[in-house]
């Protein structure tokens, strides 16, 4: 009977006797007998670790996607994670610690998060960054909550350039908060803010940079629109692209959020990832989630602690700025280590190599019969959307046979009928392709060749 319980039979007997009980069953005397389970759980009996591991390996082997050369992105990217980052991030002191409620024995984790906050702040150009949220999508929800809470206006203008899943999550939670979401369509990969003319009571203008189709939008109009409404501008930024692109702050963002996965976290079938959240100082008291601050100890030595805790649920309860408690600290730590490994030059290198690879790949694919850009002449960086002569899903199937995860079919992201991001007619033929710094010229050229074959 495999388990991890230290109790010997003598221990149990001794402890029961100390409690004046004659059986472990009596420990549950407070549970009305009518409620107690009479039958055994309909689960397998316990199995020793090697058996369980073998079963997990079998399931892992059934994930053919793991072996394919990855050209898929759409918010989850196949970046280099070096052994040194894995080695440090997996140190058990970090992995098996709890939330730093006792700062004196948590300086290691606290300082790492302080460094993480500093890096996110510098990346997005905003002075405040929190200790992470669940993922990019939920970080965006918090951004909307902050904006609506600050302005007192329920309207949220959401560019259709925001990742479809993120928009879906926004919608789900708006049911509770009562925000009025208005999606603003794209035209040629750029948000057509004009389409939102009629709307008023706008508290937030939400836009992606680059957007989920990979396009670099001019964020000027969004900022202007926000000013017109006295709303806040929230930018969902790709943190890798931010290494070479104008920072959200430079575009005038009040809040910037992002998905931190590209910095040290493997693809992981979508999680655990981490939500990055940064904002202007004015909003710090509405900041969702944990914040680490520097202070001193009784001897005046430098120390770190979670601070401004009165914002949080355990103290503010129903008036808290957010309900988040457990966040994604370990991923934030990993992100800090990865960014420390990359450094200033490395981050720029990674972003540039993604862009160079994407350009090489896009040129190759556009040279194929019937393959066209889906976003007109709008510039793209690390990711681009194509219209294929045949259904994208079919092409992906064929590419998998050739050893490639060829991208993400648009209809899978936006639904068969589309969502205003691309012309509905194009959805089924739409494919989103992404290239990271890990892809070599050879891989890309073989990919293009396989793609050519797959179109025939």
């Amino acid at each position: 009977m495999p388990d991890y319980l230290p109790h010997t039979d003598e221990d149990v007997a001794e402890m029961l006797e100390f409690l004046g009980l004659s059986s472990t069953a009596e420990l549950f005397a407070a549970v009305p007998s009518a409620l107690r389970l009479t039958h055994q759980l309909a689960l397998e009996p316990g199995r020793p670790e090697p058996d369980v591991y073998a079963a997990a390996r079998e399931r892992a082997a059934a994930n053919r996607a793991a072996e394919l050369i990855c050209f898929a992105g759409a918010g989850a990217y196949d970046h280099e994670v070096p052994p040194v980052v894995k080695a440090l991030a997996s140190r058990s002191e970090f992995v098996t610690a709890y939330t730093p409620y006792q700062p004196e024995v948590a300086q290691g984790g606290l300082q790492a998060i302080f460094e993480f906050q500093t890096m996110v702040s510098r990346l997005f150009g905003l002075p405040i960054a929190n200790a992470s949220l669940y993922d990019g999508a939920t970080a965006l929800v918090e951004a909307a909550n902050l904006a609506v809470g600050t302005t007192g206006r329920p309207g949220v203008l959401v560019s259709a350039g925001i990742h479809p899943h993120w928009r879906a999550v926004l919608g789900t939670f708006a049911a509770g908060t009562g925000h009025q979401l208005v999606e603003v369509p794209l035209r040629d990969g750029t948000t057509d803010w004009g389409a939102a003319a009629g709307v008023d009571e706008v508290g937030a203008v939400v836009v992606a940079y680059p957007n989920f189709l990979g396009c670099l939008e001019d964020l000027g109009p969004a900022r202007a629109l926000a000013d017109r409404h006295g709303a806040l501008m929230a930018v969902a930024a790709d943190p890798v692209a931010a290494g070479v692109l104008k920072s959200p702050a430079a575009w005038g963002a009040d809040v910037a959020v992002g998905e931190g996965q590209p910095f040290g976290t493997p693809l992981s079938f979508g999680g655990p990832y981490l939500g990055l959240f940064a904002c202007a100082s004015a909003h710090v008291r509405r900041l969702p989630g944990r914040l680490v601050g520097e202070t001193v100890d009784a001897d005046g030595a430098r120390a770190y602690v979670t601070t401004l805790r009165t914002r949080e649920q355990d103290i503010r309860r129903e008036k808290a700025t957010s309900n988040v408690c457990t966040n994604q600290t370990l991923m934030a730590l990993t992100c800090a280590i990865q960014l420390g490994w990359l450094g200033t030059a490395g981050l720029a290198q990674v972003a540039t190599r993604c862009a160079v690879g994407a350009r090489h790949c896009q040129r190759g694919l556009l040279a194929l019969d019937g393959v066209e850009r889906l976003t007109g002449s709008t510039p793209t960086l690390r990711e681009f959307a194509l219209a294929l002569p045949v259904p994208a899903a079919l092409v992906l199937e064929r590419l998998a046979e050739e050893g490639f995860l060829g991208g993400i079919a648009l209809d899978q992201l936006v639904g068969a009928d589309g969502d205003g991001s691309v012309p509905a007619a194009e959805v089924a033929r739409g494919l989103l392709v992404s290239v990271t710094e890990r892809r070599s010229r050879g891989e890309i050229d073989r990919f293009v060749a396989a793609f050519d074959k797959a179109l025939r």
């Binding site: 407070a30 079963a55 996607a65 300082q111």
Partner: protein, 505 residues
Amino acid sequence: MTAAGGRASSAPLVGRGSEPTLFELSRRGRSSYQLATTGLEEEGTEDLIPSEHRRAEPADLAEVSERDLVGHFTRLSHRQYSVDLGAYPLGSCTMKYNPKICDAVASLPGLAEVHPGAPAPLVQGWLATLVALEAALCELSGMAAATLQPAAGAAGELTGLLLMRAYDQGRGERRRRVIIPDSAHGTNPASVTLGGYEVTTVRSDDRGCLDVRALRDVLDDDVAGMMLTNPNTLGLFEDDIVEIADAVHEVGGLMYYDGANLNAILGVVRPGDMGFDIVHFNLHKTFATPHGGGGPGAGPVAVAPHLVDFLPGPRPVVLEGPTHPGAAPRYGWATPARSIGRVHGWHGNALVLARALAYIEVHGRDGLVRVAERAVLNANWLRKRLSGTFVVPFDRPGMHEVVFSAAQLKKRTGAGAHDVAKGLIDEGFHPPTVAFPLIVDDALMVEPTETESLETLVELAEALERVVARAETEGLADAPSTTPVRRVDEARAARTLVPTFDARR
């Protein structure tokens, strides 16, 4: 009594002083990164980014050698307490030992290196994992189906409240209130607000359980439901649970189970059988995912049959059973008819889910029951052992955790729960949870968990006794004194906020 496995006697190694930040270790021109050769290095980059989009100057990050990167984070790890170093009796958090097999499973390339957007036929192993976990969670909770998307307990709570809301609207209603006990965890009321409901708090009675009469007073058809954790945050089993559930159901409300304390009742009694309609799990508590210093976790939500249609989507499902014996079924995705929609950018914290399944598979149906038994055994042993040392507000057999009050000690010595916590640090233990639940003054909430041995409990008890003795003699104002830093000035941190290295003046 032999030496304990429980005390972290990680002792001073060498040196003193604080560890500089990575930014202070940084030196322009140093680097660690090495990127794969692409063969595209020579390609021009001038026209790569339109000038109006180009970043003015590079994002300034630390620049260190790999050697200094390793030194820095290794030293930081030596300034961090953890379960692997010693006992962590932090109430409500279930800081049990996390078997390393789960790490091994979570780092299988076939699981960790899978893109979440890959077509279903290419991720059959992942879908099988999720479907298997959902089934196990439903069996453990007595529910019909579950969503695995919520990333933590609080996310599960909010998901549950949105399910309540959808159910409400489904029957053409618009109820406004959700009831929680005054002993509830802070995420409960916070989630209620975000769910668009108003909180109605019901007090606990002198037995530390929900005051059923007080509950009846506030029940009416404006009540959408009630959130409860059972055993409650005092570690006591709400034995009126059936009556409570009936009362709430009578007015048409739904019962929400906060699963943070599920560890106490695994395989003994199921939320579904108690009358709950919605249940969230904290996989990082009950199913031994390490807490990572504050996350990640996972907060799946299971529901009764009448709520299945509202679950978030897409959900992993079996599209087609095995075509022949021994064959695997075909898995895919499906979104429930009246789904409230997505609550996560992808499919939830997948690797955490894979860990939980491994944990469940190793323990199996009887191992999980033993987990609950030993957790309850340990907590009750400590309760009795320490009942002479601290006041036990509601002194009767409890479940997996016990709440002491240091209020009397404070009156006597001026040292309260907070000081006891700092004193215990000097004894080599991580302190219990303090100042929660709110209904006990100077609460010390102790959850030993099932993975600590009797020897460790004895050491912990003796350590707490020494701390009380210290409080009565020299006092605890100086504690802790054996830590990398002495007592931290939390007030100053809030007064003069320094949230980044750049904010330092």
